[in-house]
Amino acid sequence: MLETNTILEELTAIVGPANLRAAAREDAVCGVAPQFIVEPQTEQHLAAVLSRVSAAGIAAIPRGGGTKLDWGNPPKRAGIILSTARLNHIVEHAWADLTVTVEAGCTLHSLQSTLAKRGQRLAFDGLWPERATIGGALSTNDSGSLRLRFGALRDLIIGVTLALPDGTLASSGGKVVKNVAGYDLPKLAAGAFGTLGVITRAVFRLHPLCRTTRTVTFTSASWGDMQQKLHAIQDSKLAHSGFQIRGHSGGPPHADLLFEATESGLAAQTELLQKLLLSESRGSSIPPSIFVDSSPQIWQARQNLFSTRQKESVIARFSVLPSDLAKAMRWLDPFHSSSHANWQAVVQATGIGFLRLDADPSELPAQIFALREQFERAAGSLVLLRRPESLGSLDAWGNPGDALPLMRAVKLRLDPQSTLNPGRFVGGI
């Protein structure tokens, strides 16, 4: 279709010849090759491109830094990559009002560096900040350890501008932290995987950067014991900003707590935590080992799960109730029954976990189905993020529940031609 010169000429006329090029091999999305990469310089151009390809029945795959492009299901079609790389400006940092307006293609690192000059931050620790963009982090609903204290990006976003496939540029929310005028479409855009519209800009509420932080690490003999400690800590007066649990198939779990406070606050909090852990361990033969000054590098654990040379690794995100955590870890038993299989996990105290499975690919589909069923039976979920191409036909999402017809209806209202990311989201959306 794209070979028809008229469309190509029209797209070139919109964005200029410098911002349109033929796709290369590495631009493929889950093995599906697009034909062109279009990099509009303004959101108006982006909307115009989207409207033009949509009218021609050509699919568009939105792309930011491309770091999470392999998440989700493979697209049914991939006509063009609609890149936000050139929409990367920080429009306004209203530091005295603790808000920022930023274009979707701005990298997390570039945004955070600008905010840090005023002692502020977007309270979000996303994956691959050097390359990942705001638009991509929002669309994929990425969330790290800080979510426990500050919420996810859905809780920090206060305004959004979306380009819809009919060329509409629509804003909702605003520039103020508190605002209930109209529907909360920023939340709809967050986590929609670019299937409803392309996020072109977002407004966020900000938080002050903390001057002094401390990471305290402790070990537990078992996941059951760890879950008890998790509950005791969450039920205590400790005011931590992050809480992750690291574990793997071959040993006991470790937990890291992040404290952000004044100097005296840090000392008091550490002492309180030590007391609490000791009293929790009373009666146990092994006292917990506690390291009160772990390296901040430890918070890279989630990202490190993805750095594997094994081509056959599967990376998944799961969600359980915190009280089901120890049980959920037992569901992983089949993954270390043989010497070839093992797993690694980084679980947040919110019940969101990241899991790496290294196992025989021929057995993986059945094992993943069984594992997902257990999570879903416990009201949770298991979503595949990264997997070998041989497992490309496995559904990434699992059961979206009884709201699927409603989700399809929303999709149909905003993207009736299924121009955006066709087939990549839940239920074939």
Binding site: A192, L406, S418, G427
Partner: protein
């Protein structure tokens, strides 16, 4: 409405669940915004989700518009009945269904009173954070519809931050579950869209809330300033110092006088009063409170008081929370407004409000959630004096336009409802509003659920792309639509 329909309603909710007599219907002709009144054809009080579904199915079949109602404390006319429509009151669905503290979740029916959630988990030292001033009477269902705020949402977030799952009766009577007890259910965040949609997308019949552990300590400081500008400068100073207080509230002299007359909180008599609450670990709070005091003094505070006991703290808050109702002590009638501005625009906006107030010859009392720039100007007037009500309404809308010009919003927590739907086109463009309404059409293609609210002109959903009816093959999972 035909007799057979009333009979059908009666069969669903029982004779005691149906109100049709004129004098009883009067109770429901308005909500907390009393200058708009519409008499509904009937009020239904279902006591189960199934009953809500059955009632809504009848409405869908007969094309009868309906308005869901909680406690009726809303301040924007969101629960105002619509012409020829019915009101569905959720007041009978008021059970707390589950308390799961290991996961900090509480599951409630929509008619549960906001404060009752906190009361239920307080013995274990948890609380439900969103605390609108009406929290002792307003319902969780109403809070969900309005995305209610409150003084402490500066630190803890709004209702939307604390709602994890919903069971919703859609406008065609079908039942869906949005979100859930676990985070990040696969699919669109329709939960986030539903919260704050002001009853236009369906009726929530079960709500999963997140509750929060009470902090180690809470300290409240009162600081008196010569005027609101000095108080505002202190607020900016506190934020610039990198602090995130649990709440920062401001009142001007007229608001202080009213609160004193009503509940005697023993506030200092001054031009601008600041109430700053810090919570968290003891050591941390003590250190930060010293900084707050210093910042207040740098900004010309004339008096600083720390509430020493829980009793003193509650009294300080009582004055603030009673501020709206207290206006009755100093004026026969008043309009509560709910604008938001970027905090830095406060001095300019205050100067302009004073000017507009003088021009209109009407007094304006000011109560603010100062930390997040949410203003509640109270326009005082006397309905008995010809033309004053219209003048007061005009003034309150002018104040909202002022907020918009400063880059703010027409509502921070009270909602758009009936009152401010015409202001929506001043805040949003036609494509912005149209996009929101496309989402509404996905939920409610026949426009039956609170149809006349929020949007200045309801968008007809039309045939293109049309109401989505899944093919039987799709339902059975044999085929998919792409």
């Amino acid at each position: 409405m035909e007799a057979r329909i009333f009979q059908e309603f009666r069969d669903i909710v029982g004779p005691r669940g149906l109100i049709t007599s004129l004098e009883d219907l009067r109770t429901y002709e308005c909500d907390g915004l009393t200058n708009f009144r519409v008499l509904p054809r009937a009020v239904l009080l279902p006591s189960t989700t199934e009953q809500v579904q059955s009632v809504v199915r009848v409405c869908h079949r007969e094309r009868i518009p309906f308005v869901a109602r909680g406690s009726g404390t809303g301040l924007s006319g969101g629960a105002l009945p619509v012409e020829n429509g019915i009101v569905i009151s959720l007041a009978k669905m008021n059970r707390i269904l589950e308390v799961d503290l290991p996961n900090a979740r509480v599951v409630v029916e929509p008619g549960v009173i906001n404060l009752d959630v906190t009361c239920r988990v307080l013995p274990q030292e948890y609380f439900y954070a969103p605390d609108p001033s009406s929290q002792s009477v307003c319902s969780i269902g109403g809070n969900v519809a309005e995305n209610s705020g409150g003084a402490h949402c500066l630190k803890y977030g709004f209702t939307t931050t604390h709602v994890l799952g919903l069971e919703v009766v859609l406008p065609d009577g079908s039942l869906v579950h949005l979100g859930g007890k676990c985070l990040d259910a696969p699919g669109y965040d329709l939960l986030g869209v539903f919260v704050g949609s002001e009853g236009t997308l369906g009726i929530a019949t079960k709500i999963t809330l997140r509750v929060v552990k009470r902090p180690e300590c809470t300290r409240t400081l009162l600081a008196a300033f010569p005027g609101t500008n000095e108080a505002g400068a202190a607020v900016s100073g506190i934020i610039a110092a990198g602090m995130l207080p649990a709440a920062i509230e401001m009142m001007d002299n007229l608001a202080i006088q009213a609160a004193e007359a009503a509940v005697h909180p023993n506030y200092p008599d001054c031009g601008g009063l600041l109430l700053v609450e810090l919570d968290g670990p003891v050591a941390e709070v003590a250190e930060l409170m010293q900084s707050v005091e210093a910042i207040c003094r740098e900004n010309a505070a004339t008096e600083i008081r720390l509430a020493r006991t829980d009793h003193e703290r509650l009294l300080v808050w009582k004055g603030r929370k009673a501020a709206f109702a207290a206006m009755g002590r100093i004026s026969p009638n008043y309009i509560v407004q709910d604008g938001v501005i970027p905090r830095t625009a406060l001095p300019h906006v205050m100067t302009e409000i004073t000017r507009l107030s003088r021009e209109a010859g009407l007094r304006v009392a000011n109560v603010f959630h100062a930390g997040d720039g949410n203003l509640h100007p109270l326009v005082l007037y006397d309905r008995q004096i010809a033309g004053q009500e219209q003048a007061a309404e005009a003034l309150s809308y002018k104040i909202l336009e002022l907020c918009l010009a400063a880059g703010g919003s027409i509502t921070g927590e009270h909602g758009v409802g009936e009152e401010k739907k015409r202001m929506m086109s001043k805040m949003f463009t036609e494509p912005d509003l149209d996009t929101m309404q496309r989402v509404r059409c996905a939920f409610d293609p026949l426009l039956l659920s609170n149809p006349t609210k929020v949007f200045p002109t309801p968008r007809l959903c039309g045939e293109k792309p049309g109401e989505y009816v899944p093919h039987p093959l799709e339902i059975s999972g044999i085929a998919e639509r792409f």
